[in-house]
């Protein structure tokens, strides 16, 4: 997700369009990316953190959350 203080033109565009489509009451929209990785049991949480920080996200402008879900 774009950091809160960073401009998010994509979320902005969605937020502007919603009232035009007749959807009221949406006060803010932010748009980010979502990755689903299937991993072996050998991949630990620290590795996932590292993949997110060094590769999937751009820490200069994005925040991120890693969530592990059992299959």
């Amino acid at each position: 997700m774009p950091k809160p203080e960073i401009l998010d033109p994509q979320g902005q565009a969605v937020a502007n369009a919603l009232p035009r489509l007749g959807f009221e009451g949406i006060t803010s929209v932010r748009q980010g990316k979502h990755f689903e990785l299937e991993v072996d049991d050998s991949v630990d949480d620290a590795t996932l953190e590292k993949i997110a920080e060094t590769f999937l996200a751009n820490p200069v402008i994005e925040d991120w959350v890693v969530r592990r879900v059992e299959a």
């Binding site: 033109p9 994509q10 902005q12 565009a13 969605v14 369009a17 035009r20 489509l21 748009q31």
Partner: protein, 225 residues
């Protein structure tokens, strides 16, 4: 009789001037249409040009298809009006349900601008009758999300009914299924393609003038109707 071709401008549309010029080269009258105005001004056909409508931030064409003018286009297309969607216009027509499938990120993940050979696979549509079947034409391709995708059954249906109008020749530039560059509606009146025929109407400013055939096809269609 003068043929009136509407060219829609959305916020973020870029190739409207080119589409209008192409219509004029084919000796049609280009009529500007505005996204916020449902009035089609009595045109005989509509071009939905390329660009980045609303920045294409959500998904290419996703916001534009809800514009007031699109309601009118959908209605007119239902009555058989010829509609051409180029690049972003193709994406908008897919989002609007006038054409099947969707366009996704290029398989190379980069925007690609190149001169691209296309094979004409159907010369019975409102926009392709001037070409010989199997002819190869050279026009610019310039897009970042030009990969044509649809479910297998949709692709089978399109192939079975001959509704693939243009196919990429040589290496697949963007990962489109079956190398599909452009498709048509069941009645052959609505055509969408990723490459840009409107940039190939004069060898001075484009690779060829091969694209002019699409606009001349429309002239035949309207005049002979």
């Amino acid at each position: 009789m003068s043929v009136r071709v509407g060219v829609i401008t959305f916020p973020g549309t870029l190739d409207d001037v080119d589409a209008a010029r192409a219509a004029r080269y084919a000796e049609a009258e280009a009529v500007p249409l505005w996204h916020g105005d449902p009035d089609l001004k009595g045109v005989d056909a509509v071009i939905v040009p390329g660009g980045f409508s609303y920045g294409d931030y959500l998904r290419c064409g996703a916001i534009a298809r809800f514009a007031p003018v699109m309601d009118s286009v959908i209605e007119a297309a239902g009555k058989g009006m010829p509609v051409l969607g180029i690049c972003n216009g193709f994406q908008i027509l897919c989002e609007a349900g006038l054409l099947p499938g969707a366009l996704i990120r290029n398989s190379g993940l980069h925007f690609v601008c190149k001169d691209q050979w296309l094979k004409v696979e159907n010369n019975t549509t409102a926009w392709s009758s001037r070409y010989e079947l199997g002819a190869e034409i050279l026009v610019p391709l310039k897009s970042g999300e030009g990969g044509y995708q649809a479910t297998q059954s949709t692709v089978d249906e399109l192939e079975g009914e001959g509704r693939v109008v243009f196919r990429y020749v040589g290496d697949n530039p963007n990962g489109s299924r079956d190398g599909i560059a452009g498709v048509t509606s069941a009645n052959g009146r609505v055509v969408g393609l990723m490459p840009h025929p409107e940039h190939a109407i004069d060898a001075l400013t484009g690779p060829t003038d091969d694209g002019l055939g699409m606009f001349l096809s429309l002239m035949d269609e309207v005049v002979n109707a």
